[in-house]
C-alpha cells in the first residue's frame, strides 16, 4: 500500500514521458509524409511485410531455443551442490557477454555456413547469456529459510525447485528474458550479413544504395518490433508472475 503511494510521482512522470513520445512520433509522421519518405517507404510495402514476418520468425525461434536451454542451464549452475564449479561457469558465461555480436555470427557462419541456421544459432547463443545469468541470480536470491522450511515439511528436491525456488525466482528470470529478447530483436538485422534474412536486408541495402527510404523501411519496423516485444514480455511478466512475488503488483 505504501509502495503504491511512493510510485505516484513516478507514474505521473511515466505518463508525461509517454505523451512526449507520442507527440514526437506524430511530428515525425508529419515530417515523413511531407518529405516524401513515407511514400518512398510505402513502395516497399510487400518487402516490409515479408521481411517483418521473417524477422519475427528468427526472433521467435532463436528466443525460444534460448529460453528453453537457458533456464535449465541456469538451474543447474545455481545448484549449491556444484560447489565452486557453478560460479566458475557463471563467470565464463559473463565473459561470453563481452564477445561482440558480429564475432559470434561470424564464428557461427564458419561452422554452419550461410543462411538461417547459423543466424538462429548465433542469436540463440547471444540471447542465452542474460537468461542464464538471471536464472542463476534469481535462484541464488531465494532465502535459504524458504528451502529449509520446504525440506522440513517433507518436500522432495523436485517439489522444492518447482514450488518454491522457481516461483520465487520467476520475476528475476522474466526480467532476464525481457532483456534478452530486446537485444535479440535489435540484433536480428545483422543476420542479413550471413544470409539469414529479416529486416536487415532493407537496412543494409539502404545503406549501400544511400537510399534513406529503403533504410527507414527496414529500420522503423525493427524499432517498432523491439518496442512491441518489450511491451509484450513486460505485460507477461506483470500478469503471469504471482502477486506474492511480483514487486510491481
Amino acid at each position: 500500500m505504501q509502495g503504491a503511494q511512493a510510485t505516484h510521482p513516478m507514474r505521473a512522470l511515466a505518463s508525461l514521458w509517454r505523451l512526449t513520445v507520442l507527440g514526437l512520433v506524430f511530428l515525425l509522421g508529419i515530417w515523413a509524409s511531407a518529405s516524401g519518405t513515407l511514400t518512398a517507404m510505402m513502395a516497399y510495402r510487400e518487402d516490409i511485410h515479408f521481411l517483418t514476418l521473417q524477422h519475427m520468425e528468427l526472433v521467435a525461434i532463436s528466443g525460444a531455443i534460448a529460453i528453453l536451454t537457458g533456464i535449465p542451464i541456469g538451474i543447474v549452475l545455481a545448484r549449491r551442490s556444484l560447489g565452486l564449479f557453478g560460479p566458475l561457469v557463471a563467470q565464463i558465461i559473463n565473459l561470453g557477454t563481452t564477445i561482440p555480436t558480429l564475432a559470434i555470427l561470424a564464428l557461427a557462419m564458419t561452422v554452419l555456413g550461410l543462411g538461417a541456421p547459423p543466424a538462429i544459432f548465433g542469436l540463440a547463443v547471444l540471447t542465452l547469456l542474460p537468461i542464464v545469468l538471471n536464472t542463476v541470480a534469481g535462484l541464488r536470491a531465494v532465502p535459504p529459510a524458504l528451502v529449509e522450511a520446504a525440506r522440513g515439511m517433507g518436500m522432495t528436491n523436485r517439489q522444492i525447485l518447482f514450488q518454491v525456488e522457481l516461483p520465487n525466482a520467476l520475476f528475476v528470470i522474466a526480467a532476464g528474458i525481457r532483456t534478452a529478447l530486446a537485444i535479440n530483436v535489435g540484433t536480428v538485422p545483422l543476420a542479413f550479413l550471413i544470409g539469414g534474412g529479416g529486416l536487415g536486408e532493407l537496412i543494409f541495402t539502404g545503406i549501400d544504395l544511400m537510399d534513406t527510404g529503403l533504410l527507414l523501411a527496414g529500420a522503423i519496423p525493427t524499432a517498432l518490433l523491439a518496442v512491441a516485444v518489450d511491451f509484450l514480455v513486460g505485460q507477461l511478466q506483470f500478469w503471469l508472475v504471482p502477486r506474492g512475488v511480483n514487486p510491481l503488483r
Partner: protein, 368 residues
C-alpha cells in the same frame, strides 16, 4: 512418544551432540534450552532427519525414524522455524495446505481446515485466507507458520525458536495462543529456545544442554528449584525462585473455604469469628457469596450494630486461575499482605497471604 537413545552428532572435529538420551511423553511440550551452539537445534533436526545422526537412535511411537523414508517422515511431523519461511508465491491458505496437498488430501476439506485453524489464532479467514505473506505483519506471519505445521494434523511438532524474532508484546500473545491450541490439540512438541522465561511458560519438561551434553531434564519447577549444577543455576538466573511463581496458580496457594461474614451479621459475631480463627480481618460477602469488602478487628472493637456499617472496600482481588506472579505483583502494587481470591463469577473462594506464598515456595527445600 519420542525417545532419543545415545544420540550423537559429530561435525568434523567437533561433537555437536554428545550421547543424549531422553524421552518425551505423548502430549508433552519438551523445551530444549541452552546457549547458542549447545546442540539443542542439532538434536531437534535429527528427529526429522534434516541432520542425520552420527550415532544413536531415535524412536517415534516405538518406530526407528531411520526405517521410514525421510520425506514421508517429515510430512508426518510439523515443522516451524524462527524465520517462519512462508512461501511468498503462495496465498496464506495455500501455505497452510502445503503438506495436506502433498499428501493428496481432499482440497475442499483441507481449505476448510485451514479456515478453522485461522480462526483458532484469531485471524478472520474471510480476510486473510487469500492474502499473500508480504501483506501480513511479522506476528501474523508466524501465526500462519504455526498453523501450517498443524494443517495435516501430525502427532509430533518440531519448533525451532519459533517466537524468537517477534517483539516481546506480540510474543506473549502468540505464546498464549499456542498454549491454547496445544491444550486443545495435545501434540507432542519439541521446542528449541534460549529463553528461560519462555521455557518456564511453555514446557511440561525442560532439557538443558551445554556443549552437546544434556545436563538436566526435569519439570520447569524442579529445574528452577533444584538446578543440577552451577551452570544450570546461572543459566536459569539468580531470580529463579521468583520465576517459579508463574508455575503455581492462586488456587493451589490459597487457603480455601475461609471464614466470612455477611453485612447483616452483628459486630459481635464478626469479632468472635476473627478471634476464633486468629485473624485480624475477615471478608464480607453478599447473599450469593460475592466479595463486597472486608472488616478489621481494630475498626470493629468497641463498635456496635451490623458489619455492613463498618466495612471497607477491597483495593484488589485476584482470580483463582491466575498465577502467583500476578498475585504477588498485585500485593506489591497495593501494599497488601493478603488478597481475597474469587472465581470467574466473583464468588469468594479463599485468600492468599505473602507468608503463605513464602511457605509454599520453601516447602521443596525443607523436604530435602
Amino acid at each position: 512418544m519420542i525417545r532419543l537413545k545415545n544420540l550423537t552428532k559429530i561435525f568434523g572435529a567437533t561433537t555437536a551432540v554428545d550421547n543424549v538420551s531422553m524421552e518425551v511423553g505423548a502430549g508433552e511440550v519438551c523445551v530444549l534450552l541452552g546457549p547458542s551452539g549447545c546442540g539443542k537445534t542439532t538434536t531437534m533436526k535429527m528427529v526429522n532427519r534434516l541432520i542425520e545422526p552420527s550415532g544413536g537412535r531415535i524412536f517415534i511411537d516405538g518406530k526407528d525414524v531411520t526405517e521410514v523414508d525421510a520425506v514421508q517422515l517429515r510430512r508426518s511431523i510439523g515443522y516451524v522455524i524462527q524465520q517462519i519461511g512462508l512461501f511468498p508465491n503462495k496465498t496464506v491458505e495455500d501455505n497452510i495446505c502445503v503438506v495436506p496437498d502433498m499428501l493428496g488430501h481432499d482440497r475442499k476439506a483441507s481449505r476448510r481446515r485451514a479456515a478453522e485453524l485461522l480462526e483458532m489464532v484469531n485471524l478472520e479467514p474471510a480476510a486473510y485466507a487469500k492474502r499473500y505473506p508480504k501483506e501480513l505483519s511479522g506476528g501474523q506471519q508466524q501465526r500462519i507458520g504455526v498453523i501450517r505445521a498443524l494443517a495435516a494434523d501430525p502427532p509430533v511438532l518440531l519448533m525451532d525458536e519459533p517466537f524468537g524474532a517477534i517483539d516481546p508484546i506480540n510474543r506473549e500473545v502468540i505464546q498464549d495462543e499456542f498454549m491454547k491450541l496445544q491444550a486443545a490439540l495435545k501434540k507432542t512438541v519439541i521446542f528449541v529456545s534460549h529463553d528461560i522465561d519462555e521455557a518456564v511458560k511453555m514446557a511440561s519438561r525442560v532439557a538443558i544442554f551445554r556443549a552437546g551434553r544434556l545436563v538436566q531434564y526435569d519439570t520447569p519447577d524442579t529445574i528452577l528449584a533444584h538446578p543440577a549444577d552451577s551452570f544450570v543455576a546461572d543459566f536459569v538466573g539468580a531470580d529463579r525462585t521468583l520465576k517459579r511463581l508463574r508455575l503455581i496458580t492462586v488456587r493451589d496457594a490459597m487457603t480455601a473455604d475461609p471464614p466470612r461474614v455477611s453485612p447483616q451479621d452483628s459486630v459481635e459475631t464478626a469479632l468472635a469469628l476473627m478471634e476464633q480463627h486468629g485473624h485480624i480481618s475477615v471478608v464480607m460477602v453478599g447473599p450469593h457469596g460475592k466479595v463486597l469488602g472486608f472488616v478489621r478487628v481494630e475498626a470493629l472493637r468497641g463498635k456496635r450494630g451490623k458489619v455492613g456499617d463498618h466495612f471497607e472496600k477491597l483495593t484488589s482481588v485476584v482470580r483463582v486461575d491466575d498465577n502467583l506472579r500476578n498475585a504477588v505483583s498485585q500485593m506489591f502494587t497495593n501494599d497488601q499482605s493478603w488478597l481475597a481470591c474469587i472465581d470467574a463469577d466473583g464468588v469468594y473462594q479463599g485468600y492468599i497471604t505473602q507468608r503463605g506464598i513464602t511457605h509454599l515456595l520453601g516447602a521443596t527445600y525443607r523436604d530435602r
